[in-house]
């Protein structure tokens, strides 16, 4: 909510001309979400400081957006709407106010001091509460290539609870000799990049806006890709409203269905995901099934490959998340399929701890990276449903090999926050052999991914093949 811009250019009060705001006045600018005020805490020839203070009224803001977006009288469900940092932090909202209040200055136009507007001058920008995901290193990475000296101190979360560590805010001061218009444009772009939660829906003109604001500095920025990705960033996380509400009544933070993976592991796992698909498809090429069901199909990546495989007459995908299924239907363009294509495919919501006759009757069932998301005491229910009731001819199970985790640098704990367990190779073997014996399946184990002589492959696979056609042996 606060930014101060200081200069020691002489006369320093020329800052008033550059900003088009008179140093001796207090000026208010009404914004759709609050009021921005520009005033000068100091104004001498040696040093002049302009302050932009943004007051946000979150209650009124929440009321209005609630009524607009979700129908009359139904506020948005995120608790963050009333309790949020927008009143205090230099967030993306602040970036919008900044662009509006200093629009002329940002364009570099200055009738009174045209040459000064084109000149790099000594500047000091101070933001006491800058939301910055990634902390001090990211702030340095983004600002230093632009010629700024970065002084940044993380703000502790709560002085009364030092064990909680730092907050995501920095007390940031940038010093450097920069053209004022550039400095403002850089803040305009980088505030939302650092904040990573834009407050308004991004429209198609966002790209144009970014390119305009980035003119003259973004193209040469070594981290321009990061800037662009984060600026245009993470839309499309259409979080099911009901689920979010459920997460909230339970005082948990993540929406229950959030399928995010920690960024540091993600890069290692993307190719692994592909290799798991390849491994499953290679196995299917050996088995040559007529029908395959992907249990826990998520957004349908494997289902897509299965549909493209010749010889599989029936493909099914089920998932417990209705949202994932919607994503799968979109990915597979179900609405544009011919009748013949539609007949090959079934997508439905199911939970593997509830008996569901629709799961039965497939040659092969795939449980890819699913069981580790089930609480160990509930595994027996999944075993009964999948092996006891659904009884596929072959069940393919993939799950992380815990032994391999030592090869992931910086990984602490498990590979995904929702994993309830990760097994080593002996544990998977023991489980597979136990359930195989109980339900009449033989067991074969394979690795997926690079085979490390010491710790094995990152993913492990168990192939259970039914030995009898009778009902469950229990």
């Amino acid at each position: 909510m606060l930014l101060t811009i200081s200069t020691t250019h002489r006369p320093a009060t020329d800052l008033g001309f550059l900003l088009h705001k008179h140093p001796d006045r207090v000026q208010e600018f009404s914004q759709s979400f609050g009021t921005a005020t520009v005033f000068y805490p100091e104004a001498s020839d040696e040093r002049c400081t302009a302050a932009l203070l943004l007051e946000v009224d979150p209650v009124r803001l929440a009321r209005r957006s609630g009524k607009g977006k979700h129908g009359k009288g139904t506020p948005d469900f995120s608790l963050g709407q009333y309790v949020n940092d927008r009143s205090y932090a230099a967030s993306s909202l602040f970036g919008v106010a900044l662009a509006d209040v200093f629009s002329t200055a940002r364009s570099g136009r200055c009738v009174a001091r045209p040459e000064l507007a084109d000149t790099a001058i000594p500047l000091e920008l101070a933001i006491p509460a800058l939301p910055c995901r990634g902390g001090v290193p990211i702030a340095r990475r983004l600002f230093e290539p632009l010629g700024w000296t970065v002084a940044a101190e993380p703000v502790p979360l709560d002085a009364g609870f030092p064990e909680w560590g730092d907050s995501r805010y920095l007390d940031l001061t940038l010093t450097g000799t920069v053209r004022l218009a550039d400095a403002l444009s850089q803040l305009h772009v980088l505030l939302p990049v650092l904040d990573e939660s834009k407050h308004y829906w991004q429209g198609p003109d966002e790209v144009d806006k970014l390119l305009r604001s980035g003119a003259g500095w973004l193209a040469e920025h070594p981290d321009r890709e990061l800037v662009v990705r984060r600026y245009l960033g993470r839309r499309g996380r259409l979080v099911g409203v009901a689920l979010e509400r459920l997460a909230e009544v339970d005082d948990v933070l993540e929406p229950a269905g959030a399928e995010t993976e920690p960024a540091d592991v993600e890069e290692v796992r993307v190719p692994l995901n592909t290799r798991r698909h390849e491994a499953v498809l290679a196995l299917l090429a050996e088995i040559r099934p007529r029908s395959v069901i992907d249990l826990g199909c998520g957004p349908g990546r494997l289902v897509e490959r299965l549909l493209a495989t010749e010889g599989i007459a029936r493909v099914a995908g089920c998932d417990v998340s209705a949202r994932s299924l919607q994503g799968a239907a979109r990915r597979l363009h179900v609405d544009r399929m011919t009748e013949r294509q539609q007949e090959r495919l079934t997508l439905f919501q199911s939970a593997l701890t509830y008996d569901d006759p629709r799961l039965a009757g497939y040659d092969v069932a795939v449980l890819m990276e699913v069981i580790e998301h089930v609480d160990p005491p509930r595994l027996d229910a999944l075993e009964r449903v999948v092996l006891g009731s659904a009884r596929p001819g072959v069940l393919v199970v993939t799950t992380p090999n815990r032994e391999y985790n030592v090869r992931y640098e910086g990984l602490r704990g498990m590979r995904h926050p929702d994993h309830r367990f990760e097994w080593d190779r002996a544990e998977l073997r023991a489980w597979a052999e136990r359930v195989g014996a109980a339900y009449g399946y033989t067991v074969e184990l394979r690795g997926v991914g690079d085979d490390d002589p010491e710790v094995g492959t990152p993913t492990q696979m168990a192939i259970l093949t039914r030995t009898s056609t009778d009902g469950a042996s229990r």
Binding site: V26, P41, L53, F77, G80, V155, Y169, R245, A351, D356
Partner: protein, 843 residues
Amino acid sequence: MTTLNLPELGLVVLVGVSGSGKSTFAREHFKATEVVSSDFCRGLVADDENDQDATPDAFDVLHYIAGTRLRRGLLTVVDATNVQQSAREELVRLARSHDVLVDAIVLDVPESLAVERNRGRADRDFGDHVVKRQARDLRRSLGRLRKEGFRRVHVLRGVDEIAAATVVREPSWNDRRTLTGPFDLIGDVHGCASELRTLLTELGWELEHDGAQVVGARHPEGRQAVFVGDLVDRGPDTPGVLRLVMGMVEAGTALCVAGNHEAKLVRALKGANVKVAHGLAESLAQLEAEPEDFRARALAFMDGLISHYVLDDGRLVVAHAGLKEAYHGRSSGRVRAFALYGDTTGETDELGLPVRYPWADEYRGRAMVVYGHTPVPRAEWVNNTICLDTGVVFGGELTALRYPEREVVAVEAEQQWYEPVRPLAPASPDADREPSVLRLDDVTGTRWIDSPHAGKVKIPEENAAAALEVMSRFAVDPRWLVYLPPTMSPAATSRREGCLEHPEQAFDEYAGWGVERVVCEEKHMGSRAIAVVARDAAVAERRFGVADGTTGTVYTRTGRPFFAGDRAGALVDRLREAVAPLFASLDTDWLALDCELLPWSAKAGALIRDQYASVGAAAGAALPAAEAALARAADRGLDVAALAARTATRTRNAAAFRAAYASYCRPSEGLDGVTVAPFQVLAAEGRALAVTEPHSWHLAELGRLDHPLITPTRHRYVDLGSPADRAAATQWWEELTASGGEGMVVKPADAIDAVDARGRRVQPGLKVRGREYLRIVYGPDYTEALDVLRDRSLGKKRQLALREHGLGLDALTGFVAGAPLWQVHAAVFAVLALESEPVDPRL
């Protein structure tokens, strides 16, 4: 005058040429909705009742409507000519496929009259030849109608007979819904007369003698016995059993359904060539020794046995081998076969015994089904069904079930009378247990729940879908999940200066609803927790069916476990120790408790840090800097006074906000520092205490706990008629909230399920939250925006609160009464589904 006796549930096929008066007849004797006419269906699919091209489609529709009505158990009359055998054949097949009786009513009028009538109708443009052809078909049909599968064919000849006919609907033989018991249901006797006499005596029956013979029995309390069949064969005294049971049935003190052994004995006695095995020889020999008239009487008795009865207004069904819900009250060959032999697949196992499908595992019906037929070691409930054949003739027990008490009474066999084909399995711990796997269709899709405590509740499909994800990904084993807590509404919004909520609204509302005394309970700022604790692993297995050694669980309001692994077990162990006095005073070996788990930070730590502390940190960094900048500007003589004042207020509010959340955070490492504040004893063995006891009782019981794990719930009672009481309670609330308390919950103190003057259930509780606590909910500066915030609507929240409360009580009463797991789970699941309804989360 002709009286037509028609089945109360069944299909009635009208037969007659066009113009014979079928529609008029139907209108006179049946409700308009009971009659489906081919003309009407032709109109539906073709916009023209006479369009003969549409006839095949019209009959598809007719069969669909008729079939749907029959499935739903409604009498249906088909108004079509039905003069051709093929048309009638399809209708007979339709009736059979729904296991109902089918009668035909033939309206036989002179051909000339029919022709005359058709000529007079403008909408009938077909020629006389059509009627003539129909009349020919009808004449050909009349002779063979009776062989086409109709139960009865009623023929009305001539206009006068048709006009004078009356219709009587008769219930089917198996329909004894008017008998309401109480009943003593008795398992397979198999000729064990002595054990039967012992059991009846044990049940309080008085035996009636004729000389040395026992010829009847009567219960002094007027109870009625119901035998599940298989009175005969294998045992030592089949005639003795028959004599006693026949006497009881004839005197009206007993009912008896047919068993497969009676059916076979009847065939043998009638001289059919049957294989003499499975103890039939014993019966034949024993009956041979009886006088001829006894044999004749026994044969008539057994031959007349009905295969199943529907009793007590449809709440109880008795059949020898059980009966699936779709067959209750129906009549057909396959219904009888199911009732006598079970859901056989046609296969035989390695011992040559028929393979039976475990229909009871899938049973979801409302009626209790009591049966025998398959010897089991112990009578056990499976989805509201129970098998009473405990193999007395094989040396097991003769078992009875008292209804409606659901009490099982058994006497041991005096000896093994007959060698079992299959050894009676010892009670295996696994076999009888409720399966932990529930069916998806028990919970998904749009559901209408007829809740005893909440009325009719609709669960929309999308809510069920959301709940399914949460339930299956995060919740504890459904066998532990006997309850989920309801949401609670705040008291009506206060207009008092600086306040959004205040006790006086809660008091006024309850007084307005006719409640005289309320209790104000301190609202602990922690996490809602439901604790289910068994005395030991054996109790967990017996009562909850959980056999993995765990002895209880503590879960959140969406059913998630509070702690993982060893910590979960440790918390349950400590809690068991802490609530030990309740185990004793309530004489129970398990307990379900409604609690708050403290501190809030134990579970919500991540939320507090990421959401609340984060906001506090940003405020703490930005506001002092802003104040400093404004001070310097003021020093320069700029007019920033108003802005500075607003900023100072925000600084104060932010500090208050920080203090509010911080006061609910205590360092807790693992279980150290965690306490539990129970405020209601939800249930114990045999008692759904949340339904039967008022809050004053709960608080008194829980007040006796004294253990470091337990945080007591401070409370006080308020006589709503006493201004002094109200003032004192308000004062108490102010002190509580001033010192960091969240607030209080106001509930009726003495009334259970209180209703207002118009008979509507009142809110089970109202929360009144403190001014500072609400900063966490509405934001640090909410006190500056009360004018906006007071515009809040509580209606939907309160509707949900009532429904969720009722569904929770359904789950508890169901669990306590031994209802099948799927029923308890459906209620619990419905609570979770309703929780996903969009309501303002700040309420």
